[in-house]
């Protein structure tokens, strides 16, 4: 009989093997899925994982999708380490895009080096504002942050839709719900000339490094870790839970807001309704997959960025639904959590316990 037994000490090998195992299981499932759909699995997996990044343009696209994921994930890492379940990166992201756009459309004709920073800061502030609502609701009114951040995501989406259909709509845009194109000086510079890769990726990498510094070298990072692992211990040590909650949420809002601002000032260049294909939600997977560690989330964001362009590639090359991206991401997270159970538990083989005979007291039966 297979038995799940608690390990005396958590397995640190399993902690890092689990994401790899999850990826392997996901690929195997994908293989089976392609077979079931009557497609060539090897060809399918090649189109999904390898073709998109086989040239410089492809790698640049990967970096382009990595940037928002990495920025959002860096902020969420700070929250999740403290066991603050902020699901609101999507909302922060959308508000960041909206805030940056609201300023950028006012500055279409402005030029100068100050324009871009002003636009980006507007995005960061908008993201922080959105996160501050959830933080305030949590610290002062004890509202569950999962539910409030989810609701705020939906509200942010509707605000953005309102903006592109109303106040920010391009009057000469043939009725399309989108803003005017931003001025040249409000656009992020390219990192590699000739590709769409822009400065956003540098922001993302910087955010990841900052997360590492925060948790490896700073007292506030230590406090966040403690409060996440043992709330009571943190209280005894006198760490202010409210202050730390605000800090984590504001960092989360700032990075996701910057991600949103970088998206509209980077590859898009205007505000459109589909500014996010769900970056904020995918970033949650990035954080779990990356083990809430700076290097881990960089690797994980590259993998999940690949799922976005891999999905597009499958759509073009094999006429598969684009939704394969979401399916892949869901499977990955699912397998990850399953494998994670074996960080704390191990499987033991044990002979089945014999049922107590009739002579035994009823108490024995109850204990079995």
């Amino acid at each position: 009989m297979l038995l799940l037994e608690r390990r005396p000490v958590d397995s640190s090998l399993m902690r890092w093997a689990s994401p790899v195992l999850a990826l392997v299981l996901t690929v195997i499932t994908g293989f089976v899925l392609f077979l079931a759909m009557g497609k060539d699995p090897v060809e399918g997996l090649t189109f999904f994982f390898i073709t998109p990044i086989s040239d410089l343009i492809g790698l640049a696209e990967l970096g382009l999708k990595m940037a928002p994921l990495l920025l959002c994930a860096a902020g969420l890492t700070v929250c999740y380490r403290a066991k603050l379940w902020n699901i609101g990166a999507e909302g922060h992201f959308l508000m960041g895009a909206l805030g940056a756009s609201a300023v950028a459309v006012q500055l279409v004709d402005a030029s100068g080096v100050w324009v871009l920073p002003v636009v980006l800061v507007a995005g960061v502030l908008a993201g922080m504002l959105w996160a501050a609502i959830a933080a305030g609701l949590k610290t002062h009114l004890h509202c569950n942050e999962i539910l409030t951040t989810i609701m705020l995501n939906y509200i942010a989406l509707n605000l953005l839709l309102y903006a592109v259909h109303g106040p920010l709509k391009d009057p000469y845009g043939f009725g399309f719900p989108q803003s005017v194109m931003f001025g040249e000086s409000a656009l992020l510079p390219d990192l590699i000339p000739g590709t769409r890769l822009h400065l956003g990726l540098a922001f993302g990498l910087l955010a990841a490094v900052s997360v590492w510094v925060l948790f490896a070298r700073s007292f506030i990072g230590f406090q966040l870790n403690v409060i996440g692992q043992d709330h009571r211990a943190a209280a005894f040590a006198g760490f202010g839970a409210r202050r730390l909650t605000w800090f984590a949420f504001l960092v989360g809002g700032a990075t996701a807001g910057l991600a949103g601002a970088s998206e509209v000032t980077g590859p898009i260049g205007q505000l459109v309704p589909q500014v996010s294909p769900g970056y904020g939600y995918t970033a949650i997977i990035v954080v779990f997959l990356g083990r809430m560690h700076a290097l881990g989330i960089i690797a994980a964001s590259a993998l999940l960025a690949l799922t976005f362009i891999g999905g597009e590639m499958l759509q073009i090359a094999m006429n598969m639904p684009k939704a394969v991206t979401g399916l892949f991401q869901g499977l990955l997270l699912f397998y990850l959590l399953t494998c994670d159970a074996f960080i704390h538990y191990r499987i033991r083989l044990r002979a089945p316990v014999r049922k107590p005979t009739r002579v035994a007291a009823p108490a024995a039966t109850q204990e079995a």
Binding site: L4, R6, W85, I87, L137, L141, H142, C143, N144, I146, L147, T148, I150, M151, L152, Y154, I155, N158, L159, L161, Y162, H165, G166, Y281, I284, I285, F288, P321, K322, A323, V324, T325, G326, L327, F328, Q329, G330, L331, L333, F334, L336, L337, T338, D340, A341, H344, Y345, T365, Q366, E367, A368
Partner: protein
């Protein structure tokens, strides 16, 4: 009067999916398991129901398919959260993300198709009662089912041995286990029941409310239902009232536009989400009552020591 009756009837219709999913989650949470995957299970129910209705032409078969899709998803969750004792927050989130992706994948070829959904059936005699007759007894079969389910769950929780066992497991799994209750079995059943109801709620959206399939058509209703269960302090009668009030909030923009108000659709569409947050704020003014009513072991994994 005519207008009011119509509004109330529309409110019940809009509240029905919330009622179904919230009743299921109520049972699940009473066993101590918090399943944040409602949205994912609803979406799977919605897509399964729609695809089966379209291919077989039978709404009855479609409803069964939706319920089974919901149960299937719930069992995945139960495996992670109950058997493997994983973090329930993370497992529930995973279920929602997985369900969103899988339902979009399954339904990709069916966007834009349409079916004949559930029709209204007037119940003889009862539907002749003024106002109430039109509001409650001139609806489709799934609305009637939601009322029956409500009554059944109310009776089960408060007047049956099974309900007592369920609550015992939710309050103190250790003590329940010591008394010979199979905690994990009870939790599996409760989670599966929640999944079935969520699947049905999804089917209500794709077979009755708007008979079609679109990605993410649940639009956060699974999450609103989670808030609703807390707001109702885990009592079915309050879930019923809350679900209908939410139904009212979600049709308010149609009512206002009908009355000739000029306001942006996008701004009014925020209303249910804003109301949810306001509801959570309202709860915070009475933290003691919330704490007293919360199933004690809610959200905590349990593994019997032997």
């Amino acid at each position: 009067m005519e207008l009011l009756t119509n509004i109330l009837a529309a409110m019940v219709v809009a509240g029905t999916p919330l009622l179904l999913v919230a009743l299921g989650e109520l049972i699940c949470e009473r066993s101590g398991v918090l399943n944040l995957g409602q949205e994912g299970m609803m979406l799977m129910g919605a897509v399964a129901g729609f695809v089966v209705a379209l291919t077989t032409g039978s709404l009855a078969v479609a409803v069964f398919a939706a319920v089974f899709a919901g149960i299937g998803m719930a069992l995945l969750f139960a495996f992670m959260a109950v058997t493997l004792a994983a973090n329930q927050y993370a497992a529930g989130l995973a279920l929602t993300i997985f369900g969103t992706g899988l339902s979009a994948f399954v339904g990709a070829g069916f966007v834009g198709e349409s079916i004949n959904g559930f029709e209204r059936v007037a119940i003889p005699l009862l539907s002749d009662i003024p106002v109430i007759g039109r509001v409650l007894f001139h609806q489709d079969l799934l609305v009637y089912f939601s009322l029956v389910a409500f009554a059944g769950i109310w009776l089960f929780l408060h007047h049956s041995r099974g309900g007592l066992l369920l609550r015992a497991v939710g309050e103190d799994p250790e003590a329940a286990n010591a008394n010979g209750l199979k905690v994990l079995v009870v939790r599996y059943l409760a989670v599966a029941f929640g999944g079935g109801m969520a699947g049905l709620a999804g089917a209500y959206l794709s077979l009755a409310y708007t008979p079609m399939w679109t990605e993410n058509m649940t639009a956060g209703r699974g999450w609103i239902a989670l808030a609703l269960v807390v707001f109702a302090t885990w009592r079915p009668e309050r879930v019923l009232i809350g679900a209908w009030l939410f139904g009212a909030a979600s049709i308010l923009h149609l009512v206002l536009q009908g009355l000739g108000w000029r306001a942006s659709t996008e701004l009014l569409a925020m209303l249910p989400y804003v109301v949810t947050i306001l509801m959570l704020i309202l709860l915070s003014f009475d933290p003691v009552r919330t704490r007293l009513n919360t199933p004690l072991s809610l959200g905590q994994p349990y593994r019997p020591s032997h």
